[in-house]
């Protein structure tokens, strides 16, 4: 068990590799109740969340879920989140565990001009992620329902959305905490494999998804993380001006790194280009599916550039690749 933003969470239930493969090949279930649930309601919610995030909520229809970034005036990412359009007056944000208070306060101090209410239910809401090719079948068996990718359904008090952090089919189930056991036990009984934090990290890294506090930690912009697709430029939002001017400059971008020699990559591992240290890995691990070391690093290098990584004093060969790795 490890401490994760104040939550005690298992690194693994059985083993990282077998849990990882379960999600890619059958179905796994994650207890991600540490994630936040902040509800924003009111007549100005669309205007307000469009101003707060990189996405224009005018483009959202009821039931749409959208991944986007919340920036400060400098364009630096405070957190990434999925925004759920429950109805035109009610939205849900799911910030990362370590960012809940910061995001809640950020929403509050920026909401003066808007007719909205902000309710943080993180402490009394659970979130379970059911992920893998078998997940839709299990969801059907469990709740007699189905959800499309990035769409949500509300079933009584519970929100089921076609979202996740693994790149697989599946859903996330969000609801009041007293119902978690019912869902967890039922899905385990149906054959879903419990997945710990270790495989959660390898699964997201194979898909090139960002980890808050690691791939961005306060001074990186959406452009630098190479997530320009989450920006709708045609609307006003906090950080837009900073991004507009950065767009015209040359800057390092978070790049995929594939190790060609054998080995495992770790965050912090030094990256060399032409025998000069140019960066460090923000994320690094071994891809259980590729059986190769993979990582992410802020680099100003073209795809296919040859680099080396220093591991225990030795230089290992690697190259810059496009993400996802898988």
């Amino acid at each position: 068990m490890v401490d994760f933003a104040g939550w005690e969470m298992p690194i693994q239930y059985s083993s990282i590799i077998s849990e990882h493969k379960s999600v890619r090949e059958t179905a796994g279930i994650f207890d991600v109740s540490h994630m936040g649930q902040i509800f924003v309601r009111g007549p100005d919610v669309v205007k307000f969340l469009s101003y707060i995030t990189t996405w224009n909520m005018d483009r959202q229809k009821d039931g749409d879920c959208r991944y986007c970034h919340i920036l400060n005036e400098k364009g630096h990412i405070i957190d990434d989140t999925i925004v759920y359009t429950i109805n035109p007056n009610e939205y849900l944000l799911v910030p990362n565990a370590s960012k809940i208070i910061e995001i809640r306060d950020w929403l509050l101090i920026n909401s003066n001009e808007f007719n909205v209410t902000i309710e943080d239910l993180s402490d009394i809401y659970f979130c379970l992620a059911l992920q893998g090719p078998e997940a839709p079948r299990l969801l059907g068996q469990h709740l007699n329902t189905s959800v499309n990718s990035f769409q949500l359904k509300k079933i009584n008090e519970v929100i089921v959305s076609g979202t996740g952090y693994t790149g697989e089919l599946g859903c996330e189930i969000i609801g009041p905490l007293d119902q978690i056991e019912f869902h967890w036990e039922a899905l385990l009984d149906m054959g879903a494999i419990p997945i710990g934090l270790g495989a959660r990290d390898t699964l997201r890294l194979e898909k090139g998804y960002l980890l808050s506090g690691q791939d961005f930690k306060g001074s990186e912009t959406t452009l630098e993380t190479n997530y320009a697709w989450v920006i709708d430029w045609d609307h006003d939002f906090i950080g837009r001006e900073a991004l507009m001017s950065q767009k015209e400059t040359k800057y390092s971008k978070l790049s995929g790194i594939l190790l060609e020699d054998r080995g495992v990559l770790r965050p912090g591992c030094p990256v060399f280009y032409n025998n000069t240290k140019v960066s460090e890995l923000t994320s690094g691990s071994l891809s259980p599916m590729l059986r190769k070391g993979i990582g992410l690093s802020y680099l100003d290098l073209d795809v296919d550039s040859k680099i080396t990584l220093e591991v225990r004093g030795k230089h290992l060969n690697a190259r810059v690749v496009r993400t996802p790795f898988l």
Binding site: Q12, S15, I16, I17, R262, G263, V264, R312
Partner: protein, 125 residues
């Protein structure tokens, strides 16, 4: 319960040793150690001919989450390494005492300060 075969010697760093008729020492990590490491996904072994003093880090076993040094249980020279681990590091998990052995050392001296199976069992209890 971890397996601790009676015919082997052990270190407190969770390595096992088997001395052959010629005095060479085969070394691996124990069942308890492989279980604690979980899936071994990469093993870095020394070159044949390298000399180590007792307690030197001579190899590395890595799981997804962590890299662990493997220490030389005795001073001497590496005379054999298990090349199979390069392709199949998981052999350490599957068969820590047989197919998953790591190196063979020609020791400078006789083995000293080792634990027998009884004492090692107590250590990991």
């Amino acid at each position: 319960m971890s397996e601790v075969p009676d015919n082997l010697s052990y270190t407190k760093d969770h390595e096992w040793m088997l001395v052959d008729d010629g005095g060479k020492v085969r070394v691996g990590i124990t069942d308890h150690a492989q279980d604690a490491l979980s899936d071994v996904v990469f093993v870095e072994l020394p070159e044949i001919g390298t000399k180590f003093s007792e307690g030197d880090a001579m190899a590395v076993a890595e799981s997804v989450k962590a890299a662990s040094d493997i220490y030389a249980p005795v001073s001497g020279e590496i005379v054999e390494v298990n090349d199979k681990l390069e392709e199949s590091p998981e052999l350490i998990n599957e068969s820590p005492y047989e197919v998953g052995w790591m190196v063979v050392i020609m020791p400078d001296n006789k083995l000293e300060n080792t634990l027998d199976s009884e004492s090692y069992r107590k250590l990991i209890d």
